[in-house]
Symmetry: C2
Subunit: 597 residues, 2 copies
């Protein structure tokens, strides 16, 4: 990635057309360095709507950003002043971290020096003296960290609620001490439903710069976390660029990189290689890691009768390893050791569902549920080490089997946050799986899932590009918000109400600016009525001026409903109607605006 | 519409890229003129999947079609041989039917002669001697009509089931005797969930030819019925073109045209003008009509306290009329007379929910539920006249209030088919309301809604164009099919299984051809792997060759699962695993294809 390119890309994300309509604001906390970003939508009626903001400093014109330097480490002081971590030299990066092997013709010592992240050098940190430096550890000791206060302001709840939910293991606050750039956020059913966007290159496609741009683009549209699922070249370096520039927690699936280190031969994987990869990523600042420790040897045969076998990449790698050695999954046998590493950096577990169903036919089968029970067991072990933990879920599930998934997960995993991929509610619509899965995602979130992993239109067909990332994020923001509404999350409906008010009052610009995607809403409107006056017109192209039900309806309200009609009794309204009807007839039955024009 | 244009448009729908992959087939009934079209997908493994087909003769290369002549009247013999209807001269078309007024500068007598439908002239038919010529009437007398046999073949159930569901009022078979071109279909919770696509011009946009093309295009992608909601010029003539070329039932909202006849002045509407419009449309062959007879005078004030008042066009027109006259809705007071007309042509009621909520805030409120109770009363009256009836539903409803809608409707309306618009599960995503509403649509259909009225991405912003129509239909086919799966509809999962089998076996062409939208699925795949060999590759661009979980998974199955592994007990599989694992190690741990390549 050349510096010029990188800057140009970042600028393009920063100056996305819609940013002009959204204004960066901050909520102040108890200390000067605790400022929580919000999106303020200025409305033409003089009011503001304040919304949750995931877009990071890129949307604040007052903050200079430079992708070559990375974001400011806003949590650095909070971490160091706790005085329970220490800097250390860290593991030296190696060529094979980027998939460059000694056996390649180019020579093993060569790295792509042009690609190496040039920003501020910083030594990695880890816990001192085996201390629990996790948010779970602090919460259990009754402490309210600045990170907890931050998310409390973000979610409009008390810091005590945040602390208690984390302490109970019902929520996680993924924040590796080596990712001080992250703006703290929380994942738990008590809070707003969150959305994760997957990005990442593969052996077949894409480059570092595209991945960094996808990250800023995804958070621009509302992604709460981003998973870097790269499997191709430059895995280490791509991740470094992403982490240093990411305002949201970054997740990974470390087994992907470990497999690269053994040239893709699953049977050559070892605990030592995996452990080395975990340390490497921990020092870089990965906030949460998917670990497929629940794919046990004895579960593998259960997948042989399936329609689509094992569809999780990590799950299939571990199954292949178990099969090759006829030994138990090394992630399972070394789980406690893994906990100790994660605890030293405050990395959150995302216990992977390696045996999730990949088709409607395989939903809720023995393989899936056997693994879920093991994840429940692992969740308890992780918690005993003060490691924050969430549980991954499916996948492909028909609607009538969705609820069982959440209920079982909540029961077996002591209400640990559930983090599901969709689920897709049918297999028949490749190219539209953002929709097949948004249906399942909305439902499963309503019933208690805390974070939704998006699915893009390219699922099953290819890697998402910039447009697919946006389509996936928007579909999932819809699912998440629909669930917030259904759960009765305080404040969720305020947004719908603001938009519906704007709609009913023909405030077109406000409708666009309040939309999840103002650019597209405006563009669709302008296709048929592009002229500026149409932006204030009391009708639209759907019905034309004389069929506008809202226009007619406003007349009804004006006739009956003086301000504060809410305060009237039914009898008063009934009486008012009689009077108004008389007035209406006397005035020549003229409606609000002439119905025919 | 010039003849050349019309033909060109029809050809474009006929030769849509994907048609080549789908093959028209027919199921034979008990008589030679009873042939039910199906879509056969030929798979590369030598099998066929047979799917429900709504696309009409346009996708049969053996049937010549000509939009200037219209489709063959396939039901004509069935109708005439029942010997209970008669031809009559009918109502002469008038200039104002097309919105051409005596007061226009062009002179009232002028009609757009170029636009007049040129096809085969045919006198309208109506019931003889006040007889009930409705499918409900026949079903109640125990008759199984050819139409019923047709839908029984289509739905793969016995004709008796069809007859009984219709007789009980739990299903409707909309088939005006003046629309003999229609391929019979059924709407009821016992059957496949159906999708309606709205089209129609407005005062602001679009032409006859565009509307005819939208109809063929919508049915091409799976629309089961089409509503023509035109409100602009040439309403009568546009409808004639659509009806004569439509293989699916056509619905309308007659009050729109009636309002055009009084120059858009709601207060000048009369029962006589409305009645004239009903006769006009009945003679043309409209299969079902939305009638807002439940918007009662006393309900209007209930909307004054709403966030978005009345959002149904028909509802707002009737509310304005009630308000202007302070009299009860004339559709309500003349309801029995209206029943007699609909009965004479076998037009199905779609009792409109004029007071449906237009925002999350207004869902399930007093106005909506008061009207629903009245629709229940009207449903009983319609049934007493042997008129088939379905009930329209919302609208905008948060997920947790959706189930109540179906349950109340089913209870209050004696299980008459429910026909809902979405519902949208949030207000915040204009430009994506096909998604906000597909979520609600899938859920409400699972719980018992029989037909879903689609919502396109342009909802709230503009009239749908060709692309929007397709996007809306596809989103709703997803919702409908997801509901069929969740309801356990026999045969529904066969489609998912066929696609998942193709996916697991890397039969890429089959995956595309089995997709709801093969064109887009293929295009997305080819974006990253366009070369022909990639169509048979055992991986895709998502993971690249060495991370393909399905490839690894197939190895697992091959190691354990001989054909018929379903027949093994768990113990046998466990034992088999031990043996296979040993073999695997002995063979050098080589997986299916080398994992690294």
């Amino acid at each position: 990635m050349t510096n010029q390119d990188a800057q140009a890309r970042a600028e393009s994300a920063r100056s996305a057309e819609a940013v002009g309509a959204w204004h960066k604001g901050y909520l102040s906390g108890s200390r000067p360095d605790l400022r929580v970003p919000v999106r303020r939508v200025h409305l033409t009626n003089g009011t503001d709507l304040t919304l949750y903001d995931t877009s990071g400093p890129y949307t604040d014109p007052a903050v200079p950003t430079d992708v070559r330097r990375g974001l400011e480490p806003l949590r650095q002081n909070w971490i160091t002043e706790r005085n329970d971590t220490e800097e250390y030299p860290g593991r030296a990066p190696r060529p094979e971290d980027d998939g460059i092997r000694h056996t390649t013709p180019r020579g093993g010592e060569l790295r792509n020096l042009d690609a190496v992240f040039p920003g501020r050098p910083r030594l990695p940190r880890r816990a001192r003296d085996g201390r629990a430096v996790t948010q779970l550890g602090y919460a259990r000791r009754g402490e309210i960290t600045p990170e907890m206060e931050y998310v409390a302001l973000r979610e409009n709840v008390s810091p005590e609620v945040v602390r208690d939910e984390i302490a109970a293991g019902r929520a996680v606050l993924p924040a590796n001490i080596n990712h001080p750039e992250t703006e703290p956020m929380i994942i738990g059913k008590r809070f707003l439903v969150k959305v994760n966007a997957n990005i990442g290159n593969s052996a077949v496609t894409s480059s570092i710069e595209e991945e960094v741009e996808k990250m800023t683009w995804a958070t621009r549209w509302g992604a709460d976390t981003v998973m870097d699922l790269s499997t191709g070249r430059n895995i280490h370096t791509t991740r470094e660029w992403i982490l240093r520039n990411s305002p949201v927690p970054i997740g990974t699936v470390p087994i992907y990189q470990a497999l690269e280190k053994v040239d893709g031969r699953a049977e050559e994987l070892t605990w030592e290689i995996y452990r080395d990869t975990i340390i490497e990523q921990a020092e870089q600042g990965v906030d949460y890691m998917t670990v497929h420790a629940g794919v046990l040897l004895r579960y593998v045969p259960l997948t042989a009768r399936r329609k689509t076998g094992i569809v999780s990449r990590g799950g299939s790698i571990m199954a292949a390893w178990c099969l090759a050695h006829h030994r138990e999954n090394f992630l399972y046998t070394h789980f406690e050791e893994l906990c100790e590493i994660l605890r030293a950096y405050d990395i959150t577990y995302s216990l992977g569902d390696g045996l999730r169903p990949g088709s409607i036919a395989d939903a809720n089968d023995d393989a899936q549920l056997a693994e879920l029970r093991t994840l429940g067991e692992l969740n308890r072990i992780a918690k005993s080490h003060d490691v924050q933990t969430m549980i991954e879920g499916p996948g492909h599930v028909p609607m009538h089997k969705i609820k069982e998934n959440v209920e079982l997960q909540q029961e077996l995993c002591d209400e640990a946050p559930f983090y599901t991929l969709g689920p897709l509610t049918t297999d028949i619509a490749p190219a539209y799986d953002h929709i097949t899965s948004a249906i399942g995602a909305a439902m499963i979130a309503w019933w208690g899932t805390a974070m939704l992993c998006y699915v893009t239109p390219k699922e099953h067909l290819g890697l998402p590009d910039r447009d697919d990332v946006k389509a996936g994020v928007i579909a999932y923001k819809i699912a998440a918000h629909a669930a917030d509404l259904a759960k009765g999350h305080p404040g969720a409906q305020e947004w719908d109400d603001a938009l519906s008010d704007a709609r009913f009052e023909f405030r077109w610009e406000d409708q666009f600016n309040l939309a999840l995607d103002p650019d597209t809403a405006r563009a669709y409107h302008d296709e048929t009525l592009p002229a500026e006056p149409a932006k204030t017109a009391h009708f639209c192209s759907m019905c034309g001026p004389k069929f506008c039900s809202m226009k007619i309806s406003k007349t009804v309200i004006e006739r009956f409903g003086p301000e504060g009609s809410e305060a009237l009794t039914d009898e008063q309204v009934e009486q008012g109607m009689l009077e108004k009807s008389r007035e209406f007839a006397e005035s020549g039955n003229r409606l609000y605006l002439p119905l025919a024009d």
